[in-house]
């Protein structure tokens, strides 16, 4: 599935634009950045409440397809700017990481 399909089917909000045609091949949930960096698969949608500039760096360096900020977690202004510079798509939802991850897993099985 593409980021665009993820955005539509999970009813997400868009905080930072990017290449919505990018493929999403999996997902990962976590908030400890080093932990996430060790395990986040490339091309995964990353569900997290960490909306700081370091989260953008982790998504970029680990090659995530996009960040999804869950539980309506905020995106810092410097993180927004960094995401725009590095072309990291940032989406958002009021739902929690568990609900969104479970839904993504269902969608990827279809």
């Amino acid at each position: 599935m593409t980021v665009k399909e993820l955005y539509e089917k999970l009813d997400l909000k868009q905080l930072v634009e990017g290449d919505f045609s990018r493929e999403v091949t999996g997902g990962y949930t976590g908030d400890l950045l080093s932990w996430v960096m060790a395990r986040l698969p490339a091309d995964a949608a990353w569900f997290t409440v960490m909306g700081n500039v370091n989260a953008i760096a982790v998504a970029s360096l680990a090659d995530a397809a996009c960040i999804v900020l869950t539980d309506n977690a905020g995106l810092d202004e410097d993180a927004r700017q960094r995401a725009e510079q590095q072309e990291i798509i940032v989406l958002s939802s009021e739902k929690n990481s568990y609900e969104l991850g479970a839904r993504l897993a269902e969608l990827l099985k279809e």
Partner: protein
């Protein structure tokens, strides 16, 4: 391709700038056509090293050499040094302060991640003088040899 050399200064105590060097190396590797797996491994290992230098050592320097068959990164700081390297290599062991943990770091994954993503890791450290990490990522991991 001859060896490409790059040097960076990693500023201390500035988490907003941490990752600038590894991001630049990532861009350079992408430009010369490295595989995405190699780019990812170098970027993650180097970023963890940068973060460690910011958290523990007040910054430092990064030296990068890019060859057709390997990428070598040396991260040098003049911080406090690592008292117990074997403990620091254990997942979950951390001496990071609380303000660092609130940013999402300090999970005790820094050096273990670097070891996991690089093919060769050598640590030169002396308490009170500083630490230099030497990490190598081979472009063909099957040639890494037993690590």
């Amino acid at each position: 391709m001859s060896t490409l050399h790059f040097d960076y200064v990693v500023p201390g105590d500035d988490f907003t700038q941490a990752g600038a060097a590894s991001s630049d190396v990532k861009r350079k590797l992408k430009k010369i056509g490295c595989s995405s797996d190699v780019i990812r491994r170098v970027a993650i290992a180097m970023y963890e090293g940068e973060i460690n230098m910011v958290i523990h050592a007040g910054g430092g320097t990064a030296h990068v050499e890019i060859d057709p068959d390997k990428i070598y990164v040396a991260l040098e700081d003049h911080g406090p040094g690592i008292k117990d390297v074997s403990k620091a290599m254990q997942e979950g062991w951390s001496t990071a302060p609380d303000n660092v943990r609130s940013l999402g770091f300090g999970a005790g994954m820094g050096l273990p991640n670097i070891k996991k993503y690089s093919d060769v890791l050598k640590i030169d450290t002396e308490v009170g003088k500083g630490t230099t990490l030497h990490m190598t990522v081979f472009t063909d991991r099957s040639k890494a040899g037993g690590d």
